[in-house]
Each structure stands twice: as C-alpha cells, then as structure tokens.
Amino acid sequence: MSTQTLTINGRDLSFEPGETILAVARRHHIDIPTLCHLKGATPTGACRICVVEVSGAQNLITACNTPAAAGLVVQTESAAVVAARKQIIQLMLGSGNHNCAVRGSDHQEWTSFQVKVQGEDGSSQLCPVWGDCRLQDLAYRYQVSAERFDAGPARYAMETVNPFIVRDFSRCIQCGRCVQACNEVQVNNAIQFGYKGPEAKIITPGDRPLKDSDCVFCGECVQACPVGALVEKDVRYAVRPWETQKTRTTCSYCGVGCQLYLHVRDNKVVKVTGAEVAPNHGSLCVKGRFGYHFINSPERLTDPLIKENGTFRKASWDEALDLVAGKFKQIRDTHGGDSMGVLVSARMTNEENYVAQKFTRAVLKTNNIDHCARL
C-alpha cells in the first residue's frame, strides 16, 4: 500500500499513484456525483458535475480527471460545490426537453412547455425515463427547480427509423457517454460529436441515421445514456423501471457467456441490460440485448405432442412420457442400446447435459451421444 495520503471531507485517505480524486473517494464510499464519467473510458471532466473544492485552489476542480496528490485537502459538498452543481443542473435542465416534475412549477409557462414537449415526442406522458434518469436524480438531490424554460422548438427531430433505438436529441445533454461507449468500449466508431455551439449534436459520419451507419445496435450507448436521449424502442413508454424485477443470468447466444439482467414484468421479459461483471463488464451485443422476444413467443411449444396419421395432437405428460419410455425400452431390448442415439444441445445447462448423458449411458446402454459442437 502507498503511504501517500490526501484529506477528503476531513478524513485522511491513502491513494495509489495515478488514482484520481474520484477513484479515491469512491474506494472509501464517499459519494461524488458524476454524469459524463464512464467506467473504462478516458475521463473528460466535460459535465463538471463532479467538481470539488480543494484548499488553496482558485477554482473548483473536476474530481474525475484530477489525480490525487499528497496533502490535498478536498471538500466534496461545500457550499461553493453545491452552488456550482445547482447551476450546472439548472443549465442542463434548461437545455432541452427535460419535462420531469422536479422543474416544479404551476406557471402557465410550464404547462405550455409540457404541451410542446408532448407534441414533439409524440407522447401524452412525461419524459420516457422519468424515475430512471441521472439528471433527474441530481435535480432531486440538489433540489433544483429550474424556472427558465427553453420554449423554442426542438432543433433536431427524433430518430425512430431503426428497429432498436430511439434517439431523442431534445433530451441530450451532450455528456458524451454514448460517444465514449461506442468509441472506447465497443470500438464500433459509429458516433461522434458533430456541429458546434448551440447546433451541437451527436452524429454518425455524414449525420446519417444509425441504420445507414456503422452502428451495429449493440446498445452500449443506450445503457450509457444518463438521460432520456437514447431509449430502447420497445421499452419507451412501455416499461417503468419500478414495475420490473431484475434477474441476473447468463446470455444464451454465443459462447462468450455475457452476464445480463432480464427485466421482468408480469412474468414476461421486457428488457435486457448488461451486468457490470466479467466477462462482459456491462457490454452486450444486439442479440443479447434485443433478441429476447423468442422467450415469450406465441409459437413456443406448450404441450407434449404425439403424431397420429401424420398430424400432431396434444397429449398429457403422463401419456407422452409413457409412450416414449415404452418405445425406448422396446427398441433397446429388441435391437440393443447401440441401435439408439441421443443428440444433446449447447443450449441446455450443464445439469441437463449431464442428466442426458447419464440417461444415454446408464439407461439406454449406449455411448451414441453427441451434440452440435461440430456444426
């Protein structure tokens, strides 16, 4: 361990060379809020919400990209820090269609703003990520009640032409997390900062829609977006976060074994997100994130089926299992176990594969068992 220390909120804390103030604070469970900071990507300090007060420094400094240094005395929630954060949040809320109720106002102005936003995003409701928004959380935490509304029309229309992701530029706070997620984490290099000043927009090269770009719809940007600018199309205005329960499991597509959360409402998987652990550390691909509809497909088999005269009829488990067991027994006893074969599956669990091979060997008495590894 390093013996170098700095002081945060009156506590002497040791740090490793190269650690940022933010990293040291987090390691010691001191909460410095962040917005643009994305794990695994280069910290930029762009949003400035992580500013802290350092004794002797003229200005507040950003904790996410300032290295810890011996002897620093840091305050993370001083009056100056809180005032600065309030102002940052206020500016962000005023920069677009942030029509969550924390703007709290009964003014006529608020009502007309709300009506305008609903007209623009085609909804009759509040922001689609209401209750699941980092900016809203911060506005609540710092009790920011913005009174200045941007009454102008949204500068850029929503992009809804791809099947997976809705891009609502009117709610983008230009934090750059999506750009980092795309370029530094997934390295798909599909999006970047475009235009300047008030025209600023996250764009693909040539500002084409995602579907005509290098985008592969991994959804890393959606998972990284702290506000309502990037939302899964199927989830938008359909699923509220507190209505769902999350279950951590392993993806059922390729062999990487990504860890993911299945978000379930009414016994139905309605959304998938990546879990922040090995081997994928939050990342998923388009199949893992958006390819869950088969689970609840109406085409799923629901009953055992027995073929009679060329067509299937439904059967009870007892009837179907007795038929299979009886036939297997008869064939084994007449022609020997080696006249039978079993194909198991990479789609089954280890437990199920184990039981199937045990059945093949111990009951059918053959080693005729294989699976699709070869195919």
Partner: protein, 528 residues
Amino acid sequence: MTNTIADIEQADVILVTGSNTTENHPVLSTVIKRAVKFRGAKLIVVDPRRIKLTEFAHLWLRPNLGTDVAWINGLMHVILKEKLNKADFIANRTEGFDALSKMLEKYTPDFVEGITGIPAENLEAAAKMFAGAKAGSILYCMGITQHISGTDNVKSLANLAMITGHLGAPGTGVNPLRGQNNVQGACDMGGLPNVYTAYQPVADLAMARKMEEAWGVTGLSTQPGLTVTKMLPKAHAGELKALYIIGENPMLSDADLNHVEKSLKHLDFLVVQDIFLTETAQMADVVLPSACFAEKDGTFSNTERRVQRVRQAVTAPGQAKEDWWITAQIASRMGYPMQYADSRAIFEEIARVTPSYAGISYRRIEDEGLHWPCPTEEHPGTPILHTQQFTRGKGLFHAIEWIPPAEQVDEEYPLYLTTGRLLYQYHTGTMTMKSEDLNERAPESFVEISGKDAAKYNLQDGDQVTIASRRGEIRVRVRIQDKAVEGTVFIPFHFAQGAANQLTNGALDPVSGIPEFKVCAVKIGKAA
C-alpha cells in the same frame, strides 16, 4: 480457450483466423479492438473474407479456402529460417520438434504462395510480427475447424504457438471461440460419444467401473459411440432405430440437408425435445416441450471455461418443463429411478464425478464464475492452462502436411462457397427470428459476391439467382459486398428458405467428424 477473454488485452500481437469475431462474438471482439486501438497491440487477420476486423488489422492475409495448414506451415518455415523460434521453450516443454522442422523445409514463402495465394512478403511479415511478440495470442473459430483437415488445422496452430513459446502465459494461448452458449459445457459434461464428464474416456474400464458405482448400474459400454455425423448415415442404413434429439435442429444445421431428411425419415422412432416446433421437430413421432434459459436454474460454461450461473426469471409457458426433468422422467419410467430435487442437486453430483468441476459449487459462483479445472473447494480456478506443463506432460509437435479440400472448383462449378453466421441472426434462427427487429436487419438468405464476380456473371445487386452444388440448388438474392473476394461467395446458413446447407459438402474430418462447411464448389446463374 487456454487463456481468458480479458487476457487477450494483454497480448501485443493477436492472430485471428477463421473467426468473423465482430459478428459472431461481438463482445469478445471489443477486447481485440481495444487492444489494437488503445494498447498498441498488433493484429494479424487471416481470413478469406474482408471481414470487419480487417479494418483494424495491421496485416490481412487472404488465403484460398482450405489452405490453412499451408500458411501456418509457411509462417513456421519463416520463423525457423529467421531463427525467431523460442529455443528454450521448445527444448524444455516440447517434443517432436526435429520431425516438424524437417517437414517444414519445403514450405517456403513461394511454395506457400502457390497454394494459398498469400503473397510471400506478407507471409514473411506476419511470421516476423507474430514471432517477435512478447505475448502472442491466437484466436480461431469454425473457419479453422469446419474442414476435412480441421483437426490438422488446429494442431498446426498449436505447433505455431509452441514454436514461438506463446503458451501458458498471460496474453498468449491457442484460443478457440465457442459459437454456442454452452458448447463448452456440453463437452465438459460428456455430451460426446467417447468420454464421460471432464473427458474421462468411456473406453477406460476403470472409468466405467467408477461411473457404474456412482450411478448404481452395471454394464456401461466401453465401446465409444457414434458422432452425429455418423449417426445419420446409420439411420439411413436402418441400423439406428431411434433418436432422441434435445434442443437441436439438424434439419437446418447439418451439411447436405437432403440426406439428413432422408435419414431421419428412416428412423422407427424420433423424439424431439425443444422450445419450438423446429424443422426437425416436425418430423418427430413425439415432441416434448421444454423450458428456455430464462425459465430455469443451472449453469453454463463459457468459451473461457468459466462456469456461470443461469437463473430462472420467468415461468415456462403451458406445460413446458426443464430438460433435465423430462429426461429424468423418461429414465424413471424405463425402470431407472432418477430423482433430483433441483438443478443444484444435479450439480453436486456432477462435482462428485467430475475432477475438473470438483471444487465448484453454486455458492462459490454466486457472483462471478470460476474457470475449470477447479479440483478442490479451496482452488481458485485456472484462468490460464499449461503454465507449467501440458496435459500429457511435454507438448507434442505434429508434422502435418497440407491436403487440399475435398471439393475443388472446376469448369462446371467454378466458384468456391463458404458459409457462416450474421450479426443479427443466430444458428438456425429458431430464437432470433422471433424478434421482428432482428429480422428487419437480416430478413432473408443471400449470396455475398464481389463486384468483379458480379460483373463477370452479369449480376446486379438484388438480383435473384440460383446457386447449385453437386448436392442441391437454392434461390437467393445477390448482395455485392466489399467483404467478398473474387472467386469466393458466402451464404449465411441461418435461413430455411435458401438454406446454405442444401449446398454444403458432408465430407468429414476423419478425427473430429466435423463436415467441411467452409469449402465447396458451386455455380451461379440468374433465376429464371
């Protein structure tokens, strides 16, 4: 994989061959791309198609289909000639080097260029780059294994890793990327004709005795069984009477589908257990409905040998049941009582009879999976294999000569066909094709062809064409794409309409039994 996924980021040279990683293992590809973009790693891609990863590569070698042993031998020839081999590793940890070295003499860059079409100077550059690495990692996938010489290809890659000492250390290794979520686990669990769990051979009488005792039975067969690619001909010949297929769709995934269909029709009794009424299930006498991954508890083992939990999130539709329950019921009704309380109880039995899983329990992998081998409860798991020695002790070099693929182009069938997957679909599509959004991105089969070949056959993008091999004919749409290289076309195998496997060659690798999906000869013509 001998090493882990995260470990790839430790390599300073990465050689990717026969893997369209960004489409088939997208999340794993991010590790490769980050290593190149942010850590200065060098990337060598050896692939017949101009896949996305070639844009990140420092060197792209484009071999003719089915010439892998030749270019790998060529790399080793250059490495020996330039004395870039790792002499101490070869001396201390391997055997058979002299025979290999002698065999390699004739694989000069010019000789190899004649077989593979890879320019001699590119081969030399790649050899120097890979051998010069402090840590070199080899990643491969079905583009290496789905050949009649698939086993030779893999052994040749192992030769290359050993000759350069790129094994048993961080950032190195011979790393096959498993294409399906639990292929690794299905193999580990003994879903193979020649081994019990953890690759314990069925032919070993002591092993049979051990399993008989564990399972409370007698008379376990010590005769290795049939592979899937041998079972079907036996069914065709009437020797195999019954087949119990769980979660597989050979009616779309196997080579030479017309033959598969005839073989299945010859069976006396076919039972298919699946989540959908697949092409294969439609042929069954009895179909048993099973639960999908979101509806059950258990474990999967990923491509880096990490055993991870699967947890139930929703209940299965209708009467559908977990596969283990169904199989255990059949066993019990055949007079062998198989009763487990839950998947945990099965896993505990697995740990008892499987040395490499012996130390793994649900409790230990609650938060993060463990890499087998993990022989005891205190063992931390094994992220990197072969750090001290190989499974057999010393690593054995195999002197392997190149053999041509089973089918060559000729006047009648002048184009090579290779097959594979697309980003937006998965295997036979039974899962992904239920998502309309994925179908919108990849709605139908197609043939990917180079601009030059398209011009040669007077084809426009979007034209309907017929493609025929000696085994079948399909109708698909033309896509003129930069990925394609002149003389070779590509068709994804996901789709039942325009199924690539109507065309593919069922010729098998004699050791692995894997068909040569990656090479056959076809002809193309505008559809009438």
